[in-house]
């Protein structure tokens, strides 16, 4: 029983990682007042670029860089549409999702001719598990051994990066000048402008942060969790991350717990697939897949209070003639 719990928690961590990266990515953008429904598309684009890059160069690191570059490029498109040209942020985000969905399949087929997949990666072109010291020796110690060897040790580098990004993001938001201005520009860009700070440049920096983190999230999917890019491999994670962001009321630490919760549901769903639950029978896997969304709606409807988004979110800043 204990072993099973450890296993579920272990896969919770793995499944939460891309959610967490994407969720934190969205946090930077949305805190700066740019709604980003295009997390999914950026992640997908990055997953493809990382998979392709790693396959061609044979280096996971170069793959990661490719993923980040593509994701930043897409983020800049979103920025150009919604910051410079003051377009509708939702429309721009949706467009990016479609663009990524279509382009990755098309380019994948054209370049590699494997049905939209990238070639399978050899181990050295992937981010593989890092085993912590004494993981093997401690494995058989009861409780602690399981926790240490399975839960803490044995994940790939990107998992640790994702979880370290939580305190880092908190620190950036609440302890640095950049963070203060970022939060301010999402609430009242006019206040930032009159304080002599460029709203445009600040918001661009925010979407670049989003691009970097989405890039890592995408690379995680294709070069760490799997060994190649598969068509539509993000499978709605960008939207779940968005739900987690709202759930966490745009705060980094709650974002981590929200992502862990959603990752946990995912892990349970996989575990219970095809299994009979005593007294209930077989639960359709779709139920677990829908749970994050149902939870978000239900909890937001009253259990955790109102989630108030950054006040200037979704609106372009126009210097008004008064």
């Amino acid at each position: 029983m204990f072993e099973m719990i450890i296993l579920i928690l272990d896969s919770t961590v793995r499944l939460s990682t891309p959610l967490l990266l994407a969720c934190l990515a969205g946090l930077y953008s949305e805190r700066a007042g740019i709604f980003d429904i295009g997390l999914e598309g950026k992640m997908l684009g990055a997953a493809f670029a990382a998979g392709a890059g790693a396959a061609v160069t044979g280096s996971a690191w170069l793959g990661l860089l490719c993923g980040i570059a593509v994701s930043i490029a897409l983020a800049l498109v979103h920025g150009f549409a919604s910051i410079t040209n003051r377009g509708n942020q939702i429309v721009s985000g949706v467009a990016i999702n479609f663009l990524a969905m279509g382009l990755t399949a098309l380019l994948g087929q054209d370049w590699f001719r494997q049905g939209g997949q990238t070639p399978p990666l050899p181990t050295e072109a992937r981010f593989t598990s890092l085993n912590w010291p004494f993981a093997e020796t401690l494995r058989d110690v009861p409780i602690i051994g399981g926790l240490y060897s399975e839960l803490l040790s044995g994940h790939n580098l990107l998992v640790y990066v994702a979880f370290l990004m939580v305190p880092f993001t908190w620190w950036v938001l609440f302890r640095t000048r950049f963070g203060l201005r970022l939060r301010a520009v999402g609430e009242n860009p006019a206040a930032v402008d009159t304080a002599g700070i460029s709203v445009t440049w600040l918001r661009y920096r925010a979407v670049i942060c989003t691009g970097i983190l989405c890039g890592v999230a995408g690379a995680y999917l294709s070069t760490a969790q799997s060994a190649s890019f598969i068509k539509d491999m993000t499978a709605g994670r960008g939207f779940i991350a968005l739900a987690a962001l709202i759930f966490a009321k745009w705060r980094p630490v709650p974002a981590m717990f929200a992502c862990l919760l959603f990752g946990f549901l995912d892990a349970v769903a996989i575990r219970l697939q095809g299994q009979e639950l005593p007294g209930i029978g077989e639960v359709p896997v779709q139920f677990f897949q829908a749970l994050p969304y149902i939870l978000t709606v239900v909890l937001l409807a009253g259990f955790i209070g109102r989630a108030i988004p950054p006040k200037a979110g979704g609106t372009a800043y126009v210097k008004e003639r008064t």
């Binding site: 302890r175 201005r181 301010a184 609430e187 006019a190 304080a195 002599g196």
Partner: protein, 509 residues
């Protein structure tokens, strides 16, 4: 002595609008200088240029004897210019301290800067009597304190020249007095203050010198104690205006509107209108005076059928109406003869993206005169609109323009024309001259008095005490949701002011 700030031939156009025409201005160091003018005279544009929000098309800015180029707010700040905007530039969910340091954090990490800022705030607080808790969340502070935060922001950045744009618009009279005290302290400490306003009383109360702007040009500069309100008013509009409204004594007829025991609860469950009762008779104007936010808005909305009451009755022209049920709506109230000029024309009175002629019948669009069934008769609607445009001197006289392209005064005339021309028995008028220039104010006041003389009953809600006293035949004072007393309009202003502040509530009852 070198002026703290000097403007030479500042010029600015927005497309075809010449907002500032070769403006010259010199402000002495350590003085409070007022700039008055009607809305749209170009005051705010001029100050925005000074603060680097806009760039001038031509002209020079000289600070402390040195010619400077102000490219953006950042350079303005570096030249010691600070600005308190009409709409506060504050982040509501930040603390006072965070708001103050935004843009002047003193390093890429906050720790050290915050500690320094805290000490500096304490010093400013003591020096200028600007008390405010640095850890309070700004959005939870009353507006008077929020404004103080704005002033602190400017001082924290080392401002020697402080520009205040219509600072009293959101303040109660007591808060405004406090602000003026602060301004005097700032002046005595050697700061230069530029006060932008359209309220002459404030100019007389606090400034040392005053400049008048009209239609983008600077028309006069005076020493405050050598001028007078009538002179300034005349300079502002370019002709003699009547600050008092000429009207004959009222000849009230039978009761047109009777309100009894009206109580209204808002969405928070708080009673915002408490057991209000009064009678309004034909041929009289009853004014409701009160500091904004004491239930006047909710009272008006309930009478207009927009809001439901929890108890009470309304009787309009002999028809009893139960305002506690959902059957009462604005259309029903209109049918019974209730006209309504809402307090906020942008939020409730107009759809500014619509054409003028569409707004001219908004709310009356079901009238068979304007179409059959689902179809509108555009010809008839435009004819109506053009008639009103002529009668109310609405400019530009073109009903096919978007309503947003009309000035505030003309927009208000559109609403007023729509409601008055439907010949209501009772007219509810909320803030008829808010954000309206003096010329239009005169016109609007005259129309309201004419309506009264035609035997209509008018309920006037305004936060401008002058307006209430000038127009109303009887004044009801509202405080904290209740009517606290009735006075004739000649009543001393300070007495009404005290009642509005709830001071002699017991005495009034």
């Amino acid at each position: 002595m070198v002026p703290a700030i000097e403007l030479r031939k500042i010029d600015k156009s927005f497309g075809p609008v010449h907002a500032n025409k070769a403006i010259d201005l010199a402000v002495a160091k350590g003085s409070i200088h007022g700039i008055v003018g009607e809305n749209g005279a170009g005051k705010s544009t001029l100050m925005s240029i000074l603060y680097g929000f806009y760039r001038a098309d031509g002209g020079d800015i000289i600070v402390d004897g040195n010619k400077v180029e102000i490219e953006d707010s950042k350079t303005a700040i570096s030249h010691g210019i600070g600005m308190v905007h009409q709409h506060f530039m504050l982040v509501d969910n930040f603390t006072v301290l965070e708001n103050v340091i935004l843009g002047a954090e003193g390093g890429s990490l906050l720790g050290e800067g915050v500690a320094k800022a805290r000490a500096e705030l304490k010093r400013l607080e003591e020096e200028y009597e600007l008390k405010v808790d640095p850890d309070a969340v700004v959005g939870e502070l009353p507006v008077g304190l929020q404004q103080r935060v704005e002033i602190l922001k400017a001082l924290f950045r080392g401002a020697d020249i402080l520009i205040l744009d219509e600072p009293t618009g959101v303040l109660t009279p007591a808060e405004a007095d406090h602000l003026f005290r602060i301004l005097r302290v700032l002046r005595d400490e050697g700061k230069t203050v530029l006060l932008i306003t359209h309220k002459l009383r404030e100019i007389m109360a606090v400034t040392d010198t005053v400049s008048v702007m009209r239609q983008g040009a600077m028309v006069a500069t005076r020493k405050t104690d050598e001028t007078s309100m009538p002179e300034l008013a005349e300079l502002m509009v370019g002709r003699r205006v009547l600050l008092r409204v000429d009207k004959k004594p009222a000849t009230p007829g039978r009761t047109a509107l009777s309100v009894r025991g009206l109580t209204v609860r808002d969405s928070r469950g708080i009673d915002v209108v408490k057991n209000v009762g009064f009678d309004l008779r034909e041929g009289e104007i009853v004014g409701i005076a009160g500091v904004s936010g004491n239930g006047q808005s909710q009272l008006l909305e309930t009478l207009a059928g927009i809001r439901r009451a929890v108890s009470g009755t309304i009787e309009i022209d002999g028809h009893k109406v139960d305002p506690t049920t959902g059957t009462v709506d604005p259309a029903e109230m209109r049918r019974l003869g209730m006209g309504h000029v809402p307090e906020d024309r942008h939020r409730m009175g107009l759809v500014t993206k619509f054409y003028e002629y569409e707004n001219a019948i908004l709310g009356y669009h079901r009238d068979p005169a304007y179409g059959k069934g689902a179809m509108l008769d555009l010809g008839a609607i435009r004819e109506t609109a053009n008639g009103e445009i002529g009668k109310y001197d609405i400019r530009p006289p073109n009903c096919q323009l978007r309503t947003a392209n009309f000035s505030g005064g003309n927009q208000q005339k559109i609403v007023l024309a729509r409601e008055i021309e439907r010949d209501p028995k009772v007219l509810l008028v909320g803030q008829p001259t808010r954000g309206v220039d003096i010329g239009a104010i005169e016109f609007i006041h005259r129309r309201i008095v004419e309506m009264r003389d035609a035997g209509k009953a008018i309920l006037l809600v305004s936060v401008e005490l002058d307006e209430i006293r000038g127009l109303a035949d009887r004044v009801l004072v509202m405080f904290d949701g209740a009517l606290v007393g009735e006075r004739p309009p000649e009543t001393d202003e300070s007495e009404l002011g005290l009642m509005m502040a709830g001071v002699n509530r017991e005495a009034a009852e």
